[in-house]
Symmetry: C2
Amino acid sequence: MRLPLIRKLEKFTRLSQADKEMLVRIAAQRVRRFAAREDIIHEGEKPEFINLINEGWACRYKTLEDGRRQIIAFFLPGDLCDLNVFILKEMDHSIGAITPVAVSEISRAAFDEMMIGHPRITQALWWESLVAAAIQREWTVNLGQRDALERMAHLLCELFIRLEAAGCTSDSSCEFPLTQTELGETLGMSTVHVNRTLQELRASNLIVLKDRTLTIPNLQALQDVALFNPNYLHLDREGRHLDANEE
Amino acid sequence: MRLPLIRKLEKFTRLSQADKEMLVRIAAQRVRRFAAREDIIHEGEKPEFINLINEGWACRYKTLEDGRRQIIAFFLPGDLCDLNVFILKEMDHSIGAITPVAVSEISRAAFDEMMIGHPRITQALWWESLVAAAIQREWTVNLGQRDALERMAHLLCELFIRLEAAGCTSDSSCEFPLTQTELGETLGMSTVHVNRTLQELRASNLIVLKDRTLTIPNLQALQDVALFNPNYLHLDREGRHLDANEE
DNA sequence: ACGACGACCTTACCTATGTTAATGTCGGAC
DNA sequence: GTCCGACATTAACATAGGTAAGGTCGTCGT
């Protein structure tokens, strides 16, 4: 069994056996499980750990005073929530489980230990956090410039490619647990319009979405309607400048 | 003369004299100036430096294939662009000057040196980068959930408070160099609607905006229409847990 | 077996915002 | 002083997407 985190980080750099063992060890200590819809951490609380999602989907979200909710990010298997958070006094948003999830809590001490002894991991984790920031920026573009159809298509492309990097797809399909309400809260549109938009994508044979399973028969076609450019995911390892000796 | 960066970082923690001298020194070496509208770095280029804005306003932006442009972030005096960027192979977006700007380029070596010798600065810079990420998240909420009026009001509140932290306001006024086109590209709305929205804010006496100067007679009132909660800026130093001995 | 519920889907209608395009204002270049 | 370009403003009209309401289906608890 491969840890999704390891699988993902290897998209960026090669890890030594010792690096991998370190990650496995870190992921094994302090594992917590949450039911679907349960909060992992809530706005206002003091963050004490870095959370690593091992199984399941979670999301970052924020609620306005009047109840409107925006999903700000999705955490898929292998994703980390906020390197360095412990610097902040309190959470300005919440993190909630979408499906049942298994989360590893990484303490500040464990993190520091890893930073010192494993420069490769450290660099890979910074890469992962830069990519997370790039994704957040792309969401800004998505919400600001793309219309409903493009927006939905873009989200589906992104999630599919990220799931692929974590080893959670098979062929052109993946599990897809989001409800239409959640899609609406993500894309800033009503559930009615989410429904219309999904119908439209289905009618154009761009997606098959049924029984919590998403199939994308032609990813390039979907990327084209989304004006999707995968460069922001920084997944291409070739040509990267590395500090260190390859094994 | 105070460096806006120092002024801002002191919202988070106290810096020693040596820390401040270090920052002044870093900011002084390799200063570049750009004219309004000029690109500081362009999508596709390899990032070699961390840019620090000393004077003027800049923005991060991204352009879709069909020409639509989204402004993703503003950089105000004292703002840093992306700690750690040199890890990435190429920029996935551009950074452009809005007004004429003065930028300090910080090399990887200078950054590493600072990280080693000045833990206080290091921690403060991580704080600043976490705040930048929080701002990006709030923009997601803004674009996803707020309507045009709320959205505009929210942006104005944020910019004003950030300028205040950098020491660039006087009383309830600040310079405000953005054109209506740029506001539209930021908030995902047409210039016509930007204009309507500004008129509405003026009519309610929530803002005075004229000759590139913004005045907010009653910040609380503007915050109220924006559903603005400043917690995401993490500006309250009280009660912060610090590693180290205060001077 | 029954009711309650949550997800999904649909229709009809309405409104916030976009589009187009004309007009106004101001400051700088010559 | 006038010409020009950048920006702001306004009006008339078009539309993407929101709101409200209701229906179907499958599942779960009792």
